[in-house]
């Protein structure tokens, strides 16, 4: 049966970062996942920390670190791990903008609301700059695209309350742009449009239409233009440069409902980084069982046609996600369980999962459910002592104590814990193969 020094389970941001880092450290790594994950659903941006009342992600991390929260032990790794990731993304043609000290600012969403962000793909960055009162914001999208309604978005963004006290454009207007063969389609999603932008001839024609319509709408005023996040998939860099060069206003992408094009770009780049460093990425392989002998994971057994498949391994990163990702499962009798290793889950009693007001600003107790770990990301047993699983590390949304919807910290926890899990397994005194071959940290770091 095949062997990998480390097996990573889960293809979300935490698993991808862990696998990339392990592969770069020179160990063999196989990432397995039952399907695509959060990358395809998210905005493509990196929400590191944005709880109410903080000005920057760094402040947010510092604040959350004072609570019973994964940042209470992960905080020192946030800056180096984010810096490492942004450097890798840029080197692979997907530059991002923003740092941990970039002020959290309100940017428009695809339903005409706003959300606070600081680190975003470069194509979303123009939305971060503070608005001048004389600026116009043009929301421009293709006619017939049901995931992006410029008139409705502009109408909502024209209301001051939506900006929650933040600076906002003096005027917002929405326009639809007729593109050949788009408006009359009964089936049109972000992918169709992104692939149109990948095609040089098609995108030249489409961008010309956008430019003409935006020129007319702006009528000489300074400002910016928000477009749906569909400007190219495999040819994003070229498509974005061309759009930017040819529009009369500076553009920014607004992320959409799934499938998320910015997220898919992120997935492609991270997968490529792992593969280029010799790692394997196997999607569509559900884990059936994890073999444990004498307190160590020895193999991961996967569903396959006719018979399960085993990968022998020296260590495991469990990055299977929270309840939405399937890493935690709510049973019919009201328990929250971790299905693969049966790890102890910190979760409130069934009656206390939810509070009465669905939109209570304090959130619901169930959101914080997860696996408690020590600082080395080793899972803890019910008694608070490390579970007898020396070579397992937990990363990402599976970690207990985060309320990522409210704290806007999911991506930061994923990156920092994926990074730490990788570093832990590379230096863990109980480990074998990686120890024998000291990690060659790349000199370009």
């Amino acid at each position: 049966m095949p062997h990998a020094d480390v097996v990573v389970i889960g293809a979300g941001l935490a698993g991808l970062v862990a696998a990339a880092r392990i592969a770069e450290a020179g160990a063999t790594v196989t990432l397995v996942a039952k399907g695509h994950a959060s990358t395809h659903w998210g905005s493509g941006g990196l929400d590191v920390a944005g709880p109410a009342g903080v000005a920057t992600p760094a402040e947010g991390v510092a604040h959350l670190a004072t609570l019973d929260h994964p940042y209470s032990f992960l905080a020192p790794d946030v800056a180096p791990s984010i810096a490492w990731l942004l450097e890798r993304l840029e080197a692979n043609g997907l530059p991002y903008a923003g740092t941990l000290d970039t002020p959290l600012r309100r940017v428009p969403t695809a339903i005409g609301g706003t959300r606070r962000v600081a680190i975003v793909p470069a194509a979303q960055a123009a939305a971060l700059r503070p608005w001048e009162p004389d600026e116009i914001l043009v929301i421009a999208g293709p006619a017939g695209f049901k995931d992006f309604w410029p008139a409705a978005i502009a109408d909502s963004l024209g209301r001051e309350a939506v900006w929650m006290g933040a600076g906002h454009p003096g005027r917002v207007t929405g326009i639809t742009v007729e593109l050949d063969g788009v408006a009359d389609r009964h089936n049109l999603n972000a992918l169709h449009l992104a692939r149109r932008f990948d095609d040089p001839a098609q995108r030249a024609a489409d961008i010309a239409r956008f430019a003409a319509a935006i020129t007319k709408a702006a009528a000489g005023r300074p400002g910016r233009v928000g477009v749906p996040a569909v400007v190219g998939l495999s040819q994003h860099a070229e498509a974005w440069a061309e759009l930017k060069a040819r529009l009369p206003l500076e553009p920014f992408e607004i992320p959409l409902v799934p499938p998320s094009i910015p997220g898919i770009r992120l997935w492609h780049v991270l997968r490529e980084i792992i593969r280029a460093a010799g790692g394997r990425v196997q999607i569509g392989e559900s884990v059936a069982r994890i073999h444990v002998e004498d307190g160590r994971v020895t193999a991961v057994e996967m569903e396959a046609a006719a018979r399960t498949q085993l990968i022998r391994t020296e260590a495991l990163v469990l990055a299977t996600g929270g309840i939405a990702g399937g890493g935690l499962v709510a049973t019919h009798d009201g328990r929250i369980v971790e299905p693969l290793l049966g790890l102890h889950v910190d979760a409130p009693e069934h009656e206390e999962w939810l509070v009465a007001d669905a939109l209570d600003p304090a959130g619901h107790p169930i959101e914080a459910a997860g696996i408690p770990t020590d600082g080395g990301l080793r899972p803890l047993a019910q008694d608070g002592r490390p579970a007898p699983l020396a070579n397992v590390r937990v990363a990402g949304a599976l970690l207990a104590g985060q309320r990522s919807i409210r704290e806007r910290c999911g991506d930061g926890i994923a990156v920092a814990s994926g990074w730490r899990a990788a570093n832990e397994l590379a230096t863990d005194a109980t480990r074998t193969p990686i120890e024998r071959e000291p990690i060659a940290v790349r000199t370009d770091q």
Partner: protein, 450 residues
């Protein structure tokens, strides 16, 4: 049909039909669909699969009224699904989308007379037998432009669709003759035990078109200490399943199971060189044809793709790894059916054992052919567009040889690129021969066997 009936049906049919219930409508399947990538004729796996399934299930309930629905499917667009299976692979919720679409295609054709073309493409064994019987004429006809144009008009098989040459005789008959010449007459008495022999499932491609793949497999197996047993067998039935001819497929499946189960129970492993045949034996008899009997289970558990089998030998330390040097760039395409096996990319692991061989995963979703899909007149342009980036990569590699585990993919790649495309086991046989040559002991058929 009552709710209780539906629930019962759902639990019996859990894997496919009822899995629609798990769909979150997240669109991840649409992001990987190779067909949707190139044409609007297919609205995508989500629409045809779990979304269409609601209407199909409603149809089962005989819901009538102002919005009465077609019990078979909302429309015919599901016919444009190529069945590559990528959607099922990436679905984070475990929905069996490709299988659902396949069943929907089958249901669309229920009670209708199949198109002669689809019926013919499904009957790989019949076409193959006739082709071999009249091989000089058939090879002339299948490679004559005028005749192919006529085929296209009359039958709807695209004139440029890849078609291999028929052999002069079937592999089965060649093998039988060879066995009859053996001193023991090839009788079962001389049959070695399951640790010294495997059952070989050759499939139609080897039987009618590519006997060299079988010869390579038998030679490589022998070199590793395994005799080959080749019992009577018929088409695995996959082309019939793909063309919605489930009853015919079930008939083939029963024949194969009856013969193969006996060996499986005796502990023999069933090894195949066609990754789509082996996947059919492993999974599709149960999943697509609803066969859940003991024979089906025994055959499923005993079946191995040849590269999976050889890699397993290697893991046990039993593979002869004395490969000779092959200084070659080797572009490799992992076929869709291999991905459905869930066994990783064993061919690449084996290639890594061959000194000098620079095998490279082309990392492309699908070559387009998808069994018989790309041979059909209306689907040929789609198939070519799906495979185009792969063809470009193979051509750009400058290699003189490529590798792929699945026969129709090999024909598609070779026809589209002009680069000779071979089964991984042929490459391994070549590497063993290179070793023998280097040692100066040019091997005959018995080389290396214990």
């Amino acid at each position: 049909m009552t709710i209780a009936d539906l629930v019962r049906e759902a639990s019996e049919d859990r894997h496919v039909s009822a899995s629609a219930d798990e769909c979150l409508k997240c669109n991840v399947c649409n992001t990987v669909c190779p067909v949707m990538r190139v044409t609007d004729l297919f609205p995508g796996p989500k629409y045809s699969g779990p979304q269409g399934q609601r209407f199909r299930l409603a149809g089962l309930q005989q819901i009538q009224g102002p919005h009465s629905v077609n019990p078979k499917s909302p429309d015919h667009s599901v016919d444009y699904c190529s069945g590559c299976g990528w959607c099922t692979t990436v679905c984070p919720a475990g929905v069996k989308i490709a299988e659902m679409n396949n069943q929907a295609r089958g249901r669309l054709r229920e009670g209708t007379i199949p198109k002669l073309r689809d019926w013919g493409l499904g009957q790989t064994d019949l076409v193959g037998s006739l082709g071999v019987l009249f091989s000089p004429f058939a090879n002339f006809a299948f490679h004559n432009r005028v005749i192919r144009a006529t085929f296209e008009m009359v039958l709807g098989v695209h004139r440029n669709a890849p078609f291999p040459k028929f052999s002069k005789r079937t592999f089965q008959s060649t093998w039988k003759r060879r066995q009859a010449r053996r001193p023991d007459g090839g009788t079962l008495k001389s049959r070695p035990g399951p640790d010294k022999a495997v059952v070989y499932f050759h499939g139609c491609s080897v039987n009618y078109y590519e006997p060299q793949v079988a010869e390579a497999a038998i030679w490589v197996l022998k070199r590793n200490g395994f005799e080959t047993i080749i019992p009577e067998q018929v088409c695995c039935g996959l082309p019939l399943i793909s063309n919605g001819l489930y009853d015919d497929a079930r008939e083939r499946a029963c024949k194969n199971n009856t013969i193969l189960a006996e060996y499986a129970r005796a502990g023999y492993r069933i090894v195949g060189t066609s990754t789509s045949c082996t996947h059919t034996l492993k999974a599709e008899y149960e999943e697509m044809l609803d066969m859940r009997d003991d024979d089906t289970k025994a055959v499923s558990h005993a079946t191995w793709d040849i590269c999976e089998f050889l890699l397993d030998l290697h893991e046990e330390g039993r593979l002869d790894t004395n490969f000779g040097r092959l200084d070659e760039d080797l572009p490799y395409h992992a076929p869709c059916q291999l991905r459905s096996h869930g066994i990783g990319l064993p061919a690449l692991d084996l290639f890594a054992l061959v000194p000098g061989l620079r095998a490279k995963d082309m990392d492309h979703d699908c070559c387009g052919i998808a069994g018989t899909y790309g041979m059909k007149k209306e689907k040929y342009p789609i198939a070519m567009k799906v495979g185009e980036p792969l063809f470009r990569k193979v051509k750009d590699s400058g290699a003189t040889m490529a590798a792929c585990d699945s026969e129709t993919c090999r024909w598609q790649i070779e026809t589209a690129t002009g680069v000779r495309t071979r089964h991984p086991v042929e490459i391994l046989a070549q590497a063993y021969r290179a070793a023998d040559k280097a040692k100066g002991t040019v091997a005959k058929g018995s080389a290396g066997a214990s």
